[in-house]
Structures are given as C-alpha cells and as structure tokens.
Amino acid sequence: MRYSPTLIEHFRNPRNAGMMRDPDGVGESEYPECMDLARVYLRVRDGRVTEARFQTYGCGPTIAASSAATELIQGVAVEDLLELADARVESAVGGLPADRAHAAHVVSAAVRAAARDAMARMREAGGKPAGGA
C-alpha cells in the first residue's frame, strides 16, 4: 500500500468532518492543477483553536490530510497557524508519496487562510480574543 497506515485511518474515519455553525474563522484553498478544494473552520477561544472542522473535495490523501490537520491544530495559537508549514501536515498524516504532496499543500493553505480570517475577525472585534474576557 503506498499510503501510510495513519493516512488510511484518517481516510477511513475522518475526524471533525462537516460544517461548523458560526465559526470564528473560515479558510479555503484550491489546488488548481488538481481541483482539490479544502475548507477549514475554526472555533477560537483566548486566541487558541478549541475546535476545527473541515470539508474537502479531492483525492484520498487530501481528505486524510484535512482530517489529520484538524487534530494537529487543536489548542494551537491562531497566530502560530499563520505560518503552518506543509511539512507539519504531511507529517501528521504519516507521510505522502511524491505525487500526492499537493494534499499537504492545499490543506495547510486552507488552515493558514482560516487563521488569517480568525485574526482579522479578532482585530475587528477590538483585539479581544473571541469568547475571551
């Protein structure tokens, strides 16, 4: 099997799949060469991700990477997600074959976009972290 057991597990049983009501941040990324599309929703409290969900159109690895990413970013500061590296997502899914590397790219780009959106919303709200004091 050319996919890691971790990837297969995330594909078989994707975590945190589906829309989120009233998210604190939403980001989307499309990989134009491939038409894979990943969308990430964030719930943020005190500047940290307390819940993440995803919706993804794409190949098995992209779906698995989305699922793995939502687990990876739990509890992480939104600010830190602005620079989330593709390699972190690839590692979270147990590695990717070279011809599926785009899966990590499109998912991490969606997370970064969601983080940017969350940061923008926080600034709009007067700099107060969503749900915080």
Binding site: A17, E28, Y31, E33, Q55, T56, C59, G60, I63
Partner: protein, 384 residues
C-alpha cells in the same frame, strides 16, 4: 473478512487455467528458439505456427496476415507508423478518443511532418462516419478508429467507416484491443485492413498481442533486426506468450457468446443498482452500443481517486476515470471529448466486469458504493 472483487477487466485479466496449462511446457520443455533449425527450435516453431493458425481461424483471415507483437501498444504503433513510414508523407485521420498508443503515435508523426485530423465524438463518445468522410483528403494515407473505447465502452460504427475507406482504397486500422474475443469481428465485412488485438484482455498472458495486416497493405517494419514474422517485426518470438494467446483465443471462441450475455446482465444489474441507490450519478458511454462489461460512471461532487481508494479498502478494484499524477489532474481525454462537464468528469470511475464476476460480487459492490458515496458527499464542500 472482505470479499475480493475485481472489476477492472478492461485493464487486465487473470490468465485462464487452460491457458496457463498450455503455456507451461514452453518454458522448460519446448523452450527452443523457433528460428533454430534443430529439433528444439522446430518444436517451438510448431507451437507458434499452431497458435497463429488458431488466431487466423478465429478472425477468418490468412495465417500469414497475423503478426505477433509485444502488446496492443506495439501493434498500434506498428500499424500507424508502419503505414506512415511506407508512404513517407501524408494525412492521417483518427478520433479524439483513441488509446494513447494511437494518439501519441499520430502526434509523433505530426512532429515529423505528417498532418492529422482528430474527428470529434458525440456525448456518448461515438464517432460520426460523416465526420470521417469530411475529414478524408486525397493525401489521406490511413484512418485509425478504435472498435470500442476502453474507458466508456462505446462501440464505434467501424463498418460504416470501413465502407468509406474501402471505396477510396485508404488503409483502415482498427484498435480492437477491447473487442477482440468479446464481440464478433468480420474483418472483410467491416472493411478493416489492420487490426490490433491483445492477449491480456481475454484471459491470456501479458506481453503478447498481435496485428492483423491484410495481404497487400503497404507497410514498413518499425522494428528492425532478424527475419522474424516475415520481416514485419524482428525479435525472437515470445513462445509461451504466443501459445497462451492461441489458447486464450480457443477458449474465447468456445465461451465468448454465453459469457458476454452473462456479463452484460451483471453490468446492467450494477448500473440499475447504482442508479437506484446513489444520487447524482451519470452513466458514460452509449446506452446500448457499449462493451458488454463496461460501466463508467461519474459521481458528482466527489473525486474519483477517493472513490477508488474507498473501494480498494473494501477489496473492490475499479479504475479511476481521471489520473492525478504529480499533483496535476488529467481528466480523461475521452470524457473531455464527450463534453462531460469537469465537475462530473473529475468523479469518473470505471467498472469493467469479466469472466469471474458474480451476482454476489455486484451486490457487494453496491453495498460498498452507497455508503462510501454518501460519506464522501458529506465531506464535500461542493454538495448542494
């Protein structure tokens, strides 16, 4: 424990037990080079010629009109390039949905100064003979149209095209890799001058195929070397492979009619079940003029590799209708030529049934596909 279900017979097939049995002696007992003049060579030569006779008899053509090759790809290359090499220049007519072995051969010839017209297909993937007629020119040197498309199964009107080419004395090549041994082929009635056929689609071994070349067709060899195959294709014959192909043909001649009826019924059961149980899908290919075992389906809003992977995890083997390699998607050139919108074409999956497919297999596949499609649609941001 999952059932193991193989629904990728258009890609390849398991060698029939009778074929394997026929081949085995030619690996270690009758192993000689058929070109050798001693007894070992003669044994091998006798086996090769008996197999050739069997294939020729099956196609109702002359023994000397059959050339063995290493595969359908080589046969396609030899046919198109062989005619081009004999003529030196000219115009080629083919279709937009040919196998890449024909398309890329023609494209290579265009780079070398030949001209080509790629006739379009309709929404079912079918060529219109009138489009072929309009494409023909005084300098057309060959027409190459496949008998049935490997992806969607649509059967082309080769008889009508053959009449056009025969009238104009233009050689007509048909890639019959997906129909040889599945559909009746009367080459004379169809006006076919060159026919590519393959072993491993009909329960023979991989690595052996053939090209029928009608006597009198002017061709140049594209593989030079020894005197093999009457100087049409150099190279020591793949003796066990040829024996296997001969036996596969014998078995198909016996089993073909009943088998294709059985497979067609199973295919129709599969499509009926999918249509009933899975929303937003469409069948690709002609509804009736289609290979008996081929069922190519588009699933809207979900991507084909994810379906293939999901089914693979249930030990069901099907084929993706598009290829995602190196991060760049290549939607099937056949579906694109048929005008299938991209958001459907990206969700294409091909099921191709065969000799070992059972009713239980079909029902198991339906039980796997329904929840898988539902789950993937739930994940998709594109669903309505």
């Amino acid at each position: 424990m999952n059932r193991r279900v193989y629904l990728d017979h258009n890609a390849s097939t398991a060698v029939h037990p009778e074929v394997l049995e026929a081949m085995l002696p030619y690996f270690s007992d009758q192993f000689g080079n058929p070109s050798s003049i001693h007894g070992f060579g003669r044994e091998a030569r006798d086996g090769v010629e008996a197999a050739r006779e069997r294939v020729a008899h099956f196609l109702r053509v002359g023994k000397d009109e059959i050339v063995f090759t290493s595969g359908g790809t080589e046969s396609d290359n030899a046919a198109v390039k062989g005619i081009a090499a004999a003529r030196g220049r000219g115009h080629i007519v083919t279709s937009a949905v040919e196998h890449h072995a024909v398309l890329r051969s023609v494209q290579a010839l265009e780079k070398g100064g030949f001209e080509a017209t790629y006739v379009p297909v309709d929404g079912h993937g079918m060529v219109d003979p009138d489009d072929v007629r309009r494409a023909l020119r005084p300098d057309t040197i060959v027409v190459s149209i496949m008998h049935a498309n490997s992806e969607v199964g649509t059967i082309q009107p080769v008889g009508a095209i053959g009449r056009l080419t025969r009238e104009r004395e233009i050689p007509f090549h048909v890639d019959a890799v997906q129909t040889f041994g599945k559909l009746p082929l009367d080459l004379d009635a169809l006006g076919i001058d060159l026919l590519s056929f393959s072993s491993h689609k009909i329960y023979g071994p991989k690595g052996i195929a053939g090209l029928y070349i009608r006597k009198g067709t002017k061709m140049a060899s594209v593989q030079h070397g020894g005197e093999h195959e009457r100087r049409r294709r150099a190279g020591t014959e793949n003796v066990p492979g040829i024996i296997g192909l001969g036996k596969a043909v014998e078995v198909r001649a016996r089993d073909m009619a009943a088998e294709e009826t059985r497979v067609r019924a199973l295919r129709d059961r599969l499509w009926a079940g999918l249509e009933r149980r899975v929303p937003e899908i469409r069948l690709n290919g002609h509804p009736t003029e289609r290979l008996p075992g081929t069922c190519n389906v588009c699933f809207r809003h979900i991507e084909s590799e994810s379906i293939v992977l999901g089914l693979d995890l249930k030990d069901v083997a099907v084929s993706a209708g598009s290829a995602c390699t190196s991060g760049s998607i290549e939607p099937s050139h056949v579906l694109v030529a048929m005008g299938v919108p991209l958001d459907w074409a990206m969700g294409a999956v091909r099921c191709s049934l065969g000799r070992t497919t059972t009713v239980e297999d079909i029902d198991y596949v339906l039980d796997c596909v329904e929840p898988l499609a539902g789950k993937l649609r739930e994940l998709s941001p594109l669903k309505a």
